[in-house]
Structures are given as structure tokens and as C-alpha cells.
Symmetry: C2
């Protein structure tokens, strides 16, 4: 396999797509941009940040993904999570068979460089659920749909969504975010118990005043733990 000279004309186009998520105003928003009217295909369509994977410019697809993210969202080297690679001639119907590796990124609102236009692109942050009603370029509807599904599922098992919050956050902020992601109410008392016993959060010596009420304790993520958050009970947890 992988013979350079034999196969150069039979190679697919390879691209990366990034789904940049942010938690803002109580909902998850995604960054999209409008393709220029000079584009070869999908002129003026809305689109997720993407990039051709050109081996002269990039060694790995993660580099290409980071480049796309920087170009459109103004964020450098955030955590990106590969969730699926699509392939087929349907992705770019007027051209050749395409391979599209997709990543999503959990961004902190405070770290995004906001710009209506950047590198010449018109970008928008929109509620994911609204974007899913639109017709996007390429296969970006299925890309966004799967990315959102995986993001929501990750809230059930991992601490990843904590990356949406500021470095210091309150347990209530985490609870409200988690309730949004899993679409169910969570009992406050239980949630606090679990979190304290799990050891995933470290109490800081700071408090936050959010109104005329008792100040809330600020926590940071315990970086030493990772992976699964909620204990399963298939076996004794020991």
C-alpha cells in the first residue's frame, strides 16, 4: 500500500473541519462563516471552519485544524478533539472523492478574540440548534450534528465541559452548564456531594459575589485526574 508514484492521481482530497463550541448566554454556540461569492463551490453558503490538508503546509491534520481555528476564531492551539472522519464523493459533489477529518473544540468565551471579520471572513457565533436548521456547505450539517451529539454525551461521562467555564468557577455554574448539556435537572445537594467526593475540583481561597446573596466558593479543575467523572457501579469502586 501507499505507493507514491502509482497512486498520486488516485488520492482523495483530504480536508479538516473544526467545530468551535463556546458556552455563552446559557446555550452552546458554534462559529460559522460565510463562504465568499468567489468560491469555486458552495458560493455564499454558511460553513464551519475548514482547511484543505496540503502536505506542503502541514505535517499532521491537527496542525491544519489549529490553523483553521486560528483563522476563523482567533484562538491559538486550544484543545481539539477528533470525533470522526467522513469520506465519499457526496462531500464535494462537483469535485473528487473527499476525506474530511473532523474535530470539535471546547473554547472559553473569555479567551476568544471576537471579530466580525478576520482574515477576510465574515464569522458568526450562533446557537447550535439554530444552525442545525440551516443548510450548510459540504457535509457540514452531519458534521455539526455528530459533534454536538458527542459534546452532549461527553457531559455524562467526562469532565471535558468544564473547559467551557473560566479557570475559576462555582459549583452552581458547573451544575447549570451540565443541566443544559444533559437536558435534565440535577439535584443540587447530590451534585455537590458527588463532586466533593470525586476529587475533581480543588477549592480555591476565593469567593465570587454574584448579587445580593451569600458569596459562592470558587473552584479550579484538578488537572491530575482525567477521564471519566461519574463512577459506574458495575463493580465495587474500591
Amino acid at each position: 500500500m501507499f505507493s507514491e508514484k502509482d497512486y498520486s492521481d488516485a488520492r482523495p482530497n483530504v480536508g479538516v473541519t473544526v467545530v468551535p463550541f463556546v458556552y455563552d448566554e446559557g446555550v452552546i454556540k458554534v462559529l460559522i462563516y460565510k463562504r465568499s461569492s468567489g468560491s469555486e463551490v458552495f458560493k455564499d453558503f454558511l460553513c464551519l471552519p475548514n482547511r484543505f490538508f496540503n502536505i506542503n503546509d502541514f505535517n499532521t491534520m491537527e496542525e491544519a485544524a489549529n490553523h483553521a481555528l486560528w483563522e476563523k476564531a482567533g484562538v491559538s492551539f486550544p484543545a481539539i478533539i477528533q470525533f470522526h472522519t467522513f469520506s465519499g464523493s457526496y462531500i464535494d459533489p462537483t469535485r473528487i472523492t473527499t476525506v474530511n477529518s473532523c474535530y470539535y473544540s471546547i473554547l472559553r468565551k473569555s479567551e476568544i478574540v471576537y471579530h466580525d471579520t478576520f482574515c477576510g471572513f465574515d464569522t458568526f457565533w450562533m446557537d447550535v440548534r439554530d444552525v442545525l436548521k440551516l443548510e450548510l456547505a459540504f457535509n457540514h450539517n452531519e458534521v455539526l450534528e455528530l459533534a454536538y451529539k458527542r459534546l452532549l454525551a461527553s457531559a455524562e461521562y467526562t469532565t471535558d465541559p468544564i473547559l467551557f467555564l473560566d479557570k475559576k468557577f462555582t459549583i452552581n455554574e458547573l451544575r447549570v452548564l451540565t443541566e443544559f448539556l444533559i437536558k435534565k435537572p440535577i439535584d443540587n445537594s447530590r451534585f455537590r456531594d458527588r463532586i466533593k467526593k470525586s476529587g475533581i475540583l480543588i477549592e480555591t481561597n476565593e469567593k465570587q459575589l454574584s448579587g445580593s446573596n451569600r458569596p459562592s466558593q470558587l473552584f479550579i479543575l484538578n488537572e491530575n485526574l482525567d477521564g471519566y467523572f461519574y463512577p459506574k457501579s458495575l463493580t465495587k469502586s474500591t
Copy 2:
């Protein structure tokens, strides 16, 4: 992005790799084969089933993956699960930058066409843990390592490993398999309770005699349920 004429020489090589797993003699085995001494690269190395993704031969990478699996393991169109796409020049160091999309497959031992040589390849089924000690071609060590890790993790959350068992199986067979995958003993009584309450298994009217003892009840998988198996308790399960 994706401009055909501009980028044809800058396209990476794209290949698929399949990790065929089977549950046999109480352990998970993987199929590997020996590359021919006429290969351009990695002559005589052991290797996982793989295939160049040539757009003249295949429309999607899943087709290429199925072809590789058929060629080496003699199984047609089993369930394949994409778990990661690797990229970089390190994958095939003497040639150009490569993109390698990887799948694993959960095969039933009874459905595998066993052959020491098939389509001219010498194939072997070996305990995964032993294969991981060897030096495989390309990046197949990291491919196998991640595939095995994902397979083991799937036993904690999904019913996927049931696909290793025959269509009709006993709860004890499932328990022993699960104990192997999660590397922990499971209480028999609890396991039965959970399974019965979860509704993932349907009782058949057949029993199996496995020795001088009470016959065991045979079950089949309830295909209507899918996804997660063990209930989490973040919220009331209702």
C-alpha cells in the same frame, strides 16, 4: 478548499487499517499478517489488515476497510467501528505524508473463515497482549494499542462486546467476557439483576447444557435498545 487541479500533488496518501478482534479461548485475539518480502517498505514485518484508499476502487473508507477485512479474515461486511484517524510523515517514513483511518471490528469466532493463507497472505490470530510486544509495520503498534483500549472501555458503557458471543448466549458467558474486558470480578447475582432490569437481553425458550449441571438459559440481544448499557445515576433514571 478542495481544489482538484491546484492540489493534486499536495494530497497525502490515504489508507485504512482494520483491527479484527475475536474472543477465543477466554482472551481477545487480533488478526495480523506477514508482509511479503517483495514489499516496498516494511518487508517481512507483521502488520494489521490495511488497504490504500484509492478513489478509483472505493467511494468511502468503510468500503476499503471492509475489503481489507474480507481479504485477510474472510469475513464480509461485519460491523466496523471507526476509532481514530492518524496523520503525519512518521507513518510511512520513506514515502510521503500519510493519513491512516482506523477501524476495529468485533467478530464472532463461529463466523470467521479460518485460513492460514488467503489471497496469498499468511495470517495469524494472536492474543492482543502478545502482539503488542512485537514491532509492527507502519504505526500499527499505536493503532492496535488505541483500538484495544477503546474496546476495553466499551465494555463499561455499551453492549457492543455481546457481538463477540454467539447469537444465543448465556448470562454466565457474558459475565466471564465482561470480567475479562474490565479486568475485575463481577458479582453474579447483581449482574443478573441489572441485566434483567435493563431489558437488553431477551430470554429464549432454549437452554444450554454445558456439563453435569443445571442447564443455563439462553438469551439473545434486544436489538431495539442500543447505546449505553449501565445506567448512570447523575439523574433519576425514571
